[in-house]
Amino acid sequence: MSVGFAGTGRAKAEGPLKLAVPRGALFEETLDLLDAAGIETAAVRGESRALIFDEGEIVLVTMRPSDVPTYVEAGAADIGITGKDVLLEQSDRMVYELLDLGYGRCRMVLAGRAGDERLGESARRLGMMRIATKYPRIAERHFESTGRQVEVIEVKGSVELAPLIGLADGIVDLVASGRTLEENMLEVREEILECTARFVANRVAHKLRGEEVDGLAARLREASIG
């Protein structure tokens, strides 16, 4: 369990900046961007199972994208890169969102079985849709803001499964190419929002290490445009 008590975290804003790097779908493009910004990534790209890579001016800490806000909020990482979907799902995390990096573009959508009216039928006859998702808060907010009642069912794994075998009427999920949906005979019914990779910073690091954070943000902005 965590040390100390709560609400504090015990991270130190000293030494080189610690950058939380998302493994998974954003990993390759993130490393390409860091390369373009002049940050060494050869070690991270290697076969090593290490999680922390000291590159001198900066320390790269690799983690699941959904953990990035947690580490950055506590100041365990000073800055980080993660998807907008993660930030929206964890919108109560106090991190500063400084930059839209533009890559990792994908859409959060509502999808249902192709050629099947179950979504609409449930809404009409039961006044309620059952929606399976890995993003319960985004889903809840979307239906609330469009005035519809839903039962949000949180699942951890392949969410496409849920409507196929009757757990849910539809799903809310992130779609890049749409191939997974297609292969599972699902189709997009509504677009909820578009997501890209974002550069975030810890509040205290943003204040106390302003020059370094701003400097890196400028380099990343340059690299993401170029």
């Binding site: 504090t8 015990r10 804003a13 400084l98 204040k207």
Partner: protein
């Protein structure tokens, strides 16, 4: 046998209590030596009285009925109860009035975030002293308190609560759009801020850029020059207020640890003019905050300028331990 206590509350055992007690005494010593008399107010008050202080519904997270059916609330900070106390007990008294406190306050917590529902604050309220002298005085006391806690590296962010209210007014942004922009500024969501501003009719790319850039300005005296270059009445006025305060701090030799921050926006509704936040490099969270609330006492029927700050004592304690380890 284990018996539960509510999440966000805790027991304090002797080893920690001994250290906390030393910290308490050190804080009160600093405050008392500068003429701030310690006061205590009830943890529970009438909800309608507390609600006067913070217009927004966020005043208290815990409300309940007493045996007569009156609605009571647990205080969420000490500034509002002290405003109530000053109005009730010191009306007509000689000003300025210097008060300090060490008290627990209560706020709602988000689940599984390790946040505290009940937490200790040490702070001061300086009533009846206007800017910049009053502001400078509380910053001086704050620095002394941080030193007494051994946090020599702590930094005080100094911003202006009226900057964006006035800037948005100047740009003709009002209503929902204004609230949306302020919300983005408060959470420091620059991507969202740019998007919100760009959607507003009549706001050009240049104004969007100015607003975003302004919120990123933080540092020494030089950031004020850079802000002024961006122009506009609101920036001029806030810049002049900050400049005046900073100059006075400089004159008294206490400006070194103060960082001017044009991106600062406290989420409490009652601030006006100077606002403060406290950081220590050993901790990823803010240690405390404060500022001016020249319009707060008016809501309680006495029209007096005021300023103050509060430190989260448990966080100060954690930072203190980190700093000790660093020195050893």
């Amino acid at each position: 046998m284990i018996h539960r206590i509510p999440p966000g509350t805790r027991d304090i055992m002797p080893d920690e209590m001994r250290e906390l007690r030393r910290l308490h005494l050190a804080m009160i010593d600093v405050f008392e030596s500068r003429g701030y008399g310690e006061v205590a107010t009830p943890s529970i008050e009438y909800d309608d009285v507390l609600a006067r202080g913070d217009g927004r519904a966020a005043s208290s997270s815990y409300r309940f009925f007493d045996e007569r059916g009156d609605l009571l609330a647990l205080r969420s900070d000490m500034t509002v109860p002290i405003a109530r106390l000053v109005a009730s007990r010191y009306s007509g008294a000689e000003m300025p009035l210097r008060l300090c406190y060490l008290a627990n306050a209560f706020r709602a917590v988000r689940p599984q975030r390790g946040q505290m529902r009940e937490f200790a604050q040490a702070g001061i309220e300086l009533i009846g002293a206007s800017a910049p002298e009053g502001t400078v005085e509380i910053i001086e006391v704050l620095e002394a308190a941080l030193d007494a806690a051994g946090l020599n590296r702590a930094v005080i962010g100094l911003g202006d609560a009226d900057l964006y209210r006035q800037l948005l007014e100047e740009l003709g942004i009002e209503g929902e759009a204004r609230d949306a922009v302020l919300a983005r500024l408060a959470t420091h969501d620059l991507v969202g801020l740019e998007a919100e501003l760009s959607e507003i009719e009549g706001i050009g790319a240049e104004q969007v850029e100015t607003c975003v850039a302004l919120s990123q300005l933080r540092g020494g005296r030089e950031v004020l020059d850079r802000a002024l270059e961006m122009g506009g009445d609101a920036v001029q006025r806030a810049g002049a207020r900050l400049d005046e305060t900073y100059e006075e701090l400089d004159a008294r030799g206490v400006a070194d640890r103060v960082q001017i921050d044009l991106g600062l926006l406290r989420d409490l509704g009652y601030y006006s003019g100077a606002i403060l936040e406290v950081y220590d490099p050993a901790l990823g969270h803010i240690l405390g905050g404060g500022g001016r609330y020249d319009r707060l006492l008016r809501r309680f029927g006495v029209d007096l300028p005021a300023a103050g700050f509060a430190l989260y004592l448990e966080r100060v304690h954690v930072a203190q331990i980190e700093e000790e380890e660093r020195k050893s």
